[in-house]
């Protein structure tokens, strides 16, 4: 492993996939084969991605630990670094350092029914743990997946969502906000909390993984509470700004917690106990 805290590994872009007009997935492989072998991570962890010359950006690792030989990230075009990352094509070199942070408590999830809810690019961390669980399908109870987006054009992982829908051992629903459907849309139309209430998963022996924009999280939590879920049953992630990943730079500090070290995965109950500034 490297000795310097901030120096990234060099990675090769192995595949570029466009999820939507502004969300792209990169598949990265280690240029150093020794690292490739020793590298391990858990679902929910995040990493820093370098576009040399422009800087670093933080995203969760969107691939599952069960998908070996590479890591994937999905990111939305927002600024200088993401637009530089979008300029990369297959074979180009970029930087990667990680994994950082805690992870989804998959061991605690074993034996439970699972509900996975992702909104927009929030589906990226959900995908990691979801694929991880699907790869160990027999260890879990009922699995419900809800992938929502503002519009049909903004739905990420559409092909995979359709593949999950086709499976008989999970219930998978995709939805778009009212007015966001377009010609040929074969999913639900409605805000995620509403569709969630329609799906009405049982709170009994169930864990919920919930990721997405702050406003969606807020209203989904209200719905979940109404449906009888406790704060401990709902697991989500915080997406604070970060620069170091090791609890030093101060950006992701919320109360006593550093999201980069103590998170990014929190239960709704844990978040409720934090100062409300995220």
């Amino acid at each position: 492993m490297r000795t310097e805290t901030y120096e990234p590994h060099l990675m090769t872009v192995a595949q570029v996939r466009d999820e939507t007009a502004d969300v792209r997935t990169l598949r990265l492989t280690f240029t150093d084969p020794a690292l490739a072998d020793s590298f391990a991570y858990r679902a929910g962890q995040f990493a820093f991605y370098s576009a040399f010359g422009e800087g670093e950006s933080v995203f969760c690792i969107a691939s599952s630990p069960t998908e070996t030989g590479y890591v994937e990230c999905s990111f939305k075009l927002t600024g200088k670094v993401t637009s530089a990352l979008r300029r990369l094509s297959e074979g180009d070199v970029m930087g990667f350092r990680g994994p950082y942070g805690n992870s989804f408590p998959i061991d605690e999830m074993v034996g439970h029914n699972l509900v996975f809810i992702g909104g927009g690019i929030g589906m990226a961390p959900v995908r990691s743990i979801l694929v991880n669980c699907l790869d160990r399908r027999s260890e879990f109870g009922d699995i419900t997946i809800l992938n929502g987006a503002r519009s049909a054009a903004d739905l990420v992982y559409r092909d995979q969502t359709d593949a999950w829908t086709a499976r008989s051992d999970v219930r998978c629903v995709k939805t778009v906000d009212p007015g966001g459907d377009s010609e040929g849309w074969d999913g639900e139309v409605g805000l995620i909390p509403h569709v969630l209430e329609r799906l009405a998963p049982t709170p009994h022996n169930t864990k919920v993984v919930l990721c997405g924009p702050p406003i969606m999280i807020k209203f989904s939590l209200i719905s979940l509470e109404k449906m009888g879920f406790s704060g401990e049953q709902v697991i989500t992630t915080l997406e604070n700004r970060m620069k170091c990943g090791v609890g030093k730079c101060g950006r992701c500090n919320i109360g006593g917690a550093y999201v980069c070290c103590d998170g990014p995965v929190f239960t709704a109950a844990q978040i409720a106990a934090l100062p409300q500034e995220f």
Partner: protein, 338 residues
């Protein structure tokens, strides 16, 4: 380790001996009308009265630090090393508050996963503290559990007495330095209690209320923060002169040929500090940002580490363009809650 103590003629004499021993020394000097830590070659250059405008943290945590470099190829990128840490240095004449600041930074940067660039520099610094015998109007070390003669963070602490100076050896690194100094130091002991008492008596009475950490945490939602922060203009002066503030930004600088990744000081008072790429800002106004600073220092940190993330140097109060006083604001906010 119980401190070994020595006596010397004066702090100046100790400095002379350190320089004579061939050590690289950074000490307070007067520059452009202000005291600043700078390289000294002769003991007379050092100005051992008063408080430096900036804290001593810069030597270990510089304003700008190259984390690594890179050169573009076609195709590919070649990584280049980060900065070469400076030569071993004696940081001389550090006031107990500043030394305690370094101790706090050591805790932050040393906590796993540790910060290698900081530690690389820090490992080469020997801190020679200098007790404070003439506190400033803004000094408040006693309010945060320190004293004008506190030893926290120093490898050696010099305390000027009526006759000569008391040298306390506090760490192995301090002892190693003493070994180089020869006859400038005489083994001996003296009581610094009187010095401490006199200096403390000279300080303006400042105290933080009991239960501040919990009181502030409870006051998080108070509307009063907006009033408290009304004057604050959101510059980074308080953080930049603070011995314990350590927020930083990581930026790239590059051209066609390559570039470098730098760590530069940052401050939680800047609006962009927490701004998400999406435009969402968890701390959208100055009140929230000021609250973060107050709570981080006097609530979050103390709850985890049992001491404030403040050494009472009072620099932020003194330097604030708008007359903000964090002690005052924290006490008021916590009291308002009670």
């Amino acid at each position: 380790m119980s401190p070994t103590t020595y006596l010397a003629d004066s702090a100046q004499a100790v400095l002379t001996a350190i320089l004579a021993a061939g050590q690289r020394v950074v000490a307070p000097v007067e520059q452009a009308g202000l005291l600043a830590f700078a390289h000294v070659e002769q003991a007379e250059q050092a100005q051992l009265i008063g408080q430096t405008r900036a804290s001593a943290k810069e030597l270990a945590f510089p304003r700008t630090q190259r984390l690594f470099g890179y050169r573009f190829g076609n195709p590919g990128v070649e990584l280049l090393p980060g900065e070469e840490p400076p030569a071993p240095t004696v940081l001389f004449g550090v006031r107990p508050c500043d030394a305690a600041g370094l101790a706090i930074l050591d805790g932050v940067f040393g906590a796993e996963p540790a910060d290698a660039p900081y530690l690389a520099r820090r490992a080469r610094i020997t801190v020679v503290g200098l007790s404070c015998d003439q506190p400033q109007a803004h000094c408040a070390c006693t309010a945060v559990g320190l004293s004008p003669t506190a030893t926290d963070g120093s490898d050696l602490l010099l305390t000027p007495l009526a006759e000569g100076v008391l040298v306390e050896v506090l760490t192995a690194r301090g002892a190693a330095l003493v070994d180089l100094l020869g006859e400038a130091l005489r083994p001996g002991a003296a009581d610094k209690a009187e010095v401490t008492a006199r200096a403390e008596a000279a300080m303006a009475p400042r105290a933080l209320p009991a239960g501040l950490a919990d009181g502030l945490a409870a006051a998080f939602g108070e509307a009063a923060w907006a009033d408290a922060a009304a004057r604050c203009l959101g510059c980074g002066t308080c953080a930049f002169v603070c011995p314990t503030c350590h927020c930083f930004d990581v930026v790239d600088e590059s051209n066609l040929r390559g570039g470098q990744r730098l760590r530069v000081w940052d401050a939680c008072q800047f609006g962009l500090f927490t701004l998400h790429a999406s435009g969402h800002n968890p701390r959208a106004d100055q009140a929230a940002r000021y609250r973060q600073r107050a709570l981080h220092k006097f609530s979050y940190y103390p709850r985890a580490h049992g001491r404030p993330m403040c050494v009472g140097c009072g620099r932020c109060v003194n330097a604030c363009p708008a007359g903000m006083d964090i002690f005052e604001v924290a006490a008021t906010a916590a009291a308002g809650q009670g």
